[in-house]
Symmetry: C2
């Protein structure tokens, strides 16, 4: 239509229809990393990202790993004095089953009611795409970026990123950055832009209880032989006290209380208990009674049974006194708790709790450290400014109950600080059927990131 | 060899080799009632019992039921003033899997080290056969029995006797008896003949705990949403207190304390804790601390998890907060507890125990009333005399932790009292590979029953 545009925001506005068309193309690639039948698709998604980065004006390559490849894009034209920003995202998506619960096919993007419905629209293809378009908008209008940029897009986030930390270690010099920016999370509510100040860590165990040498008849032996399923139930039941506190001695020793203004911020957020109850189907009555639901989710550790099994689980009555009982039990951790320390405390505790006649064994299955940002510095100020410029409102600080272990790893290996600003909305079905991303957030997200690169260039 | 023998004991001694041969024939029939591929075998076993009863001198017929048939044998020549004894047993056997754990094939009886190894040798073909041979010994030598006899042999005991109570109700006049005699249990120890004075009852439930409407991410929701698996574990854990007592209010209200001489008898029995620990692979540390293992097994109720399941039970770590958790929990009951009353108490208790945010539902799967004999009367005296005459020792009174609901039913429908005297030995693998029956008990068992019919004829 018109001639050259000098403002990246104007560029993004003018090119919006093309951006939607490109996103549609990206979302149509079924890059389900968990399923080997989609390996070719996942590779295709990596190629797609590389090509879009190149077209935006970056150098980019697809680098093989023992699993799905990593895409690295680079633009280093801002000079050695300008900061370097590493943008992390992932181009793989969750499986789509159960397919019959999708209103429109997961890999045929459908825009209705202000939402883009498709697998990966929010998690994380759509949000990774925002960055690519913000970079393009800068380069297309100004011929340069205000900061040096490295894009790191992996294809295994939905399967636990097994190859990413080795990759980052191997390429630490190339990936070196002052700031890591990740858009893979949600806003607190529509119209309320958000910055993440914390992620909980994870310590995930399997607890094995063994009683008699083999399954016994519960009539002939019940009452004389200790039942390992009863014992395991008791042990799990006593992991919380009457007030919802975790009873493992020493468990709270390393829990750091966030600064007062963080607490004030959380307490100032509107929490819609009724809406929450409608969403999950039960009232938010878990955890420590002394804390609000948001505090319990964001700044307090938790303990959940993820699975348990013992004895006869078929139809009807079988009178067996089982030889074994097993539970998967995981803890969400907050700074400065560590999975290693929690394992030691749990093992010591269970050794004390095991009744005579039952052996308890703890196996660690997975661990990740919690993350806590310093929201006071220039980094959060830059992000807050960028969000305010596009959304017209200062962001709120929010926590995340889940874990993204890669954040702590990236910070440590690269010596960077992280900025987690996401544009999905609550209820976006990120791991469920009918995943969606709001068009409003899509558009304001690109604007925000255009502003963000500018803001991050400020000294 | 010699001429006519007038004494049944002498007859049994002389015919012993033939008796073993016949038992071998009986045990070779794989009458596994649980497996439809053995339906013809099970029918064959019924025919075999009928034929042996007829050859012994009884009238006998095989009567069809909706399941496996019942064999009824009768001899009514003792006259209306003589008592009538109903002998109950079963000709079906447990499945034999896992086959590879048998030292010799389960349906190829093998006598070694004073034991007859075969499926059904102890439970219950071998013990039913003892009665047939004792009856034969009387009839062959004296031409009559000292009492009227009805034999009731079913083929569904190992699958819960689904058709027996309706059968007994339908034929109650024909089956009417003063005394029910059952040999389907074990002696306390080698050389120590035993009479059962009690059987525990059973109340078997499935407990369902439901939290959120669907499985949730344990990071995003853990700490705010009550986890139904944690809740169920706590509820099960708190079913016992620190001393092993069951905590359900009112649960012990109906527990009758046995007479002092019964208690003295139990306390006088030698209990080999080390041998028990070797047998089951763990120390007998379950149940109420205030009672001895034998008391806990025989005269105290118990509560066992028979199965439980929730959430993710596959390999590795899945961070799910499950929507449901389920446990199969059963109680062994003692007089005068009833399964119906226990169900009411459990439901009331769980309604109080369910935390906010979790729904609890109780489903009853199976129930059976406990049984307690009156060991003081002439019935036990007759049995004790018979056992002493063959074993050379007065029997001890023992309880049984398991349940045989049919005993109470037979007593009530027929208006009879029961005598449970079994000849298996502890560790006979009655539901396990390498089931065996001691030859010594086989021989003394026939003698005992020969004496028993005489003793029961005494006014």
């Amino acid at each position: 239509m018109s001639g050259a545009i000098s403002d990246p925001i104007d560029f993004a506005t003018r090119e919006r229809v093309r951006f939607y068309r490109e996103l549609d193309e990206f979302l149509r690639i079924p890059s389900v990393s968990a399923k080997s039948e989609h390996d070719a698709d996942t590779g295709r998604a990596a190629d797609w990202v590389r090509e879009r980065l190149v077209r935006a004006g970056l150098d980019a390559e697809v680098i093989a790993t023992p699993g799905h490849p990593v895409v690295v894009g680079e633009w280093r034209g801002a000079g050695p004095r300008a900061p370097t920003v590493l943008i992390y995202g992932h181009y793989d998506v969750q499986p789509v089953e159960p397919l019959e619960l999708w209103d429109t096919p997961p890999f045929e993007p459908n825009i209705r009611d202000g939402r883009i419905y498709a697998r990966g629209s929010a998690d994380d293809k759509g949000q990774l795409f925002l960055h690519i378009k913000a970079l393009e908008a800068h380069l297309a209008t100004r011929g340069r970026l205000p900061v040096n940029v490295v894009v790191l897009a992996e294809g295994e986030e939905e399967v636990g990123s097994p190859n990413l930390v080795p990759f980052v270690r191997e390429h630490r010099d190339r990936l070196a950055a002052d700031t890591v920016v990740i858009s893979d999370s949600a806003m607190f509510a529509p119209g309320i832009p958000s910055l993440l100040f914390s992620l909980r860590g994870l310590a995930y165990f399997e607890i094995h209880a063994t009683g008699p040498a083999s399954d016994l008849h519960s009539g002939a032996y019940g009452g004389a032989v200790v039942n390992p399923a009863n014992a395991l139930a008791r042990i799990i039941g006593e992991l919380h006290d009457e007030t919802g506190r975790i009873t493992i001695p020493g468990f709270y020793d390393d829990v750091r209380t966030p600064p007062q203004d963080t607490l004030d911020g959380i307490r100032g957020l509107p929490f819609d208990a009724d809406g929450y109850a409608r969403e999950v189907g039960t009232i938010p009555a878990g955890g420590e009674h002394a804390y609000s639901p948001l505090e319990r989710l964001w700044i307090r550790p938790s303990c959940d049974v993820n699975g348990m099994w013992s004895g006869y689980t078929g139809e009807g009555a079988k009178t067996v006194l089982p030889a074994h009982a097993t539970a998967k039990v995981s803890f969400r951790l907050v700074p400065d708790q560590s999975p290693d320390r929690v394992k030691v405390l749990l093992e010591e505790h269970l050794a004390r709790m095991a009744p005579p006649g039952v052996k308890i064994k703890v196996v660690e299955l997975h661990g990740g450290r919690p993350w806590l940002a310093q929201p006071e510095g220039p980094l959060f100020a830059a992000a807050a400014n960028a969000l305010e410029r596009s959304f017209g409102a200062r962001p709120v600080l929010t926590g995340e109950g889940g874990s993204i272990p890669i954040v702590v790893e990236l910070e440590e290996i690269l010596g960077a600080n992280s900025l987690l600003l996401g544009f999905a909305l609550p209820g976006a079905n990120m791991h469920a059927p009918n995943e969606w991303f709001a068009t409003d957030c899509f558009e304001k997200g690109i604007d925000t990131l255009i502003h963000l690169y500018d803001e991050l260039a400020q000294p």
